[in-house]
C-alpha cells in the first residue's frame, strides 16, 4: 500500500485531502502533520511515496522542507505535490521547481487530486 504524507497547518485542508484520498478506489495509508517540523520528523523516520505539501507553514516553510528532503537527505523517490493558494507565485525560475512533481492550486476538485496522484504513481511524473 502506498504511503502518503500531508503537511498543512490548516486542519480543514488536511481533513479535505484525507477524505478525498479515502474516497479513492485505490487504498492509501495516510499520515498528516500540522507543521513543517512534525512533517520533517515523519519524513526522516518513515518512508513515504508521496507528500502533499502546503508552502506557507509556520517556522519551517514548504521551500525549506523541499531543500532538506531533496538536497540534503536526497529522497529522490519521494514525489512532492505542492498545494498552493498562490497560483502564479511559482515559476520554472525558482530553484526548487524541478524538485516538485506537481503544483495544485486551491480550491481544488477531488478529481484533480486523484488524477494527479494516480498519474504520478503510475508514470513517475
Amino acid at each position: 500500500m502506498k504511503r502518503i504524507l500531508i503537511i498543512d497547518d490548516e486542519y480543514n485542508n488536511r481533513l479535505l485531502l484525507e477524505e478525498i484520498l479515502e474516497d479513492s478506489e485505490e487504498k492509501f495509508q495516510i499520515v498528516s502533520a500540522e507543521n513543517g517540523e512534525l512533517g520533517l520528523d515523519k519524513l526522516q523516520h518513515e518512508k513515504f511515496d508521496v507528500v502533499f505539501l502546503d508552502m506557507m507553514l509556520p517556522v519551517i516553510n514548504g521551500i525549506q522542507i523541499i531543500d532538506i528532503v531533496k538536497c540534503q537527505w536526497k529522497l529522490d523517490d519521494l514525489k512532492v505535490i505542492v498545494i498552493t493558494g498562490n497560483s502564479n507565485k511559482f515559476t520554472s525560475k525558482d530553484w526548487y521547481y524541478d524538485y516538485v512533481d506537481a503544483f495544485i492550486t486551491k480550491p481544488y476538485r477531488s478529481k484533480t487530486i486523484l488524477d494527479t496522484l494516480n498519474k504520478l504513481l503510475k508514470t513517475g511524473r
Binding site: D9, E10, Y11, N12, L16, N35, Y108
Partner: protein, 146 residues
C-alpha cells in the same frame, strides 16, 4: 479599485478560505455558509473604495469578519472575542485596525506555533476602540484606535 482590492486581501487568503469552505461543506455545511458570508463581507469592504474614512463600526465589523475567517481556517490556533455592543459613532481611516491586527497575525502564523487571541472592544466614554492581543493566553499587545 482593482489594485486597491489586490493590496488589501491577499490572494492566498481568499483561495485558502475557499478551500476551507469546500472542506467544511462535506460535514459542517452551516459553518461553511457562515465562512463564505464572512469572506463575502470582507470582499465587499475591500472592493468598496469610495472613501478613505469609514465609520468605526464598518472597520470593526470588517476586522471581526476577517479574524473570524482566520479563526476557522487556523482553528484552534486563533480565537476571537469581539465585544462591540456599545459602538461609538466616530470615523477612522479605512484599514487602520485591519493592518495592525494583520501584521501581528501574519508574524505569529509565519514565525511561531503560538496560539493567538484577539479581544476587540469599544470604550464609548473615551470614544476609542481597543484591540488586545494574547499569545498562548498571556497578554502581549494593546492598541487604542480613535
Amino acid at each position: 479599485m482593482k489594485n486597491y482590492f489586490k493590496t488589501c486581501l491577499k490572494q492566498h487568503f481568499i483561495y485558502n478560505t475557499l478551500n476551507c469552505a469546500v472542506s467544511l461543506c462535506r460535514k459542517k455545511p452551516k459553518e461553511a455558509s457562515e465562512l463564505l458570508i464572512d469572506l463575502s463581507d470582507c470582499l465587499h469592504y475591500t472592493s468598496d473604495n469610495n472613501s478613505d474614512l469609514v465609520s468605526l463600526k464598518e472597520e470593526i465589523d470588517f476586522v471581526c469578519s476577517y479574524l473570524y475567517v482566520q479563526s476557522i481556517r487556523f482553528s484552534p490556533r486563533i480565537e476571537l472575542n469581539c465585544d462591540t455592543g456599545n459602538m461609538i459613532s466616530c470615523n477612522i481611516a479605512r484599514f487602520l485596525i485591519y493592518r495592525y491586527v494583520d501584521d501581528i497575525l501574519e508574524n505569529v502564523l509565519k514565525n511561531t506555533n503560538d496560539n493567538i487571541t484577539f479581544k476587540i472592544s469599544v470604550n464609548p466614554k473615551e470614544q476609542k476602540a481597543v484591540v488586545e492581543v494574547f499569545l498562548n493566553g498571556k497578554y502581549k499587545y494593546i492598541k487604542e484606535f480613535s
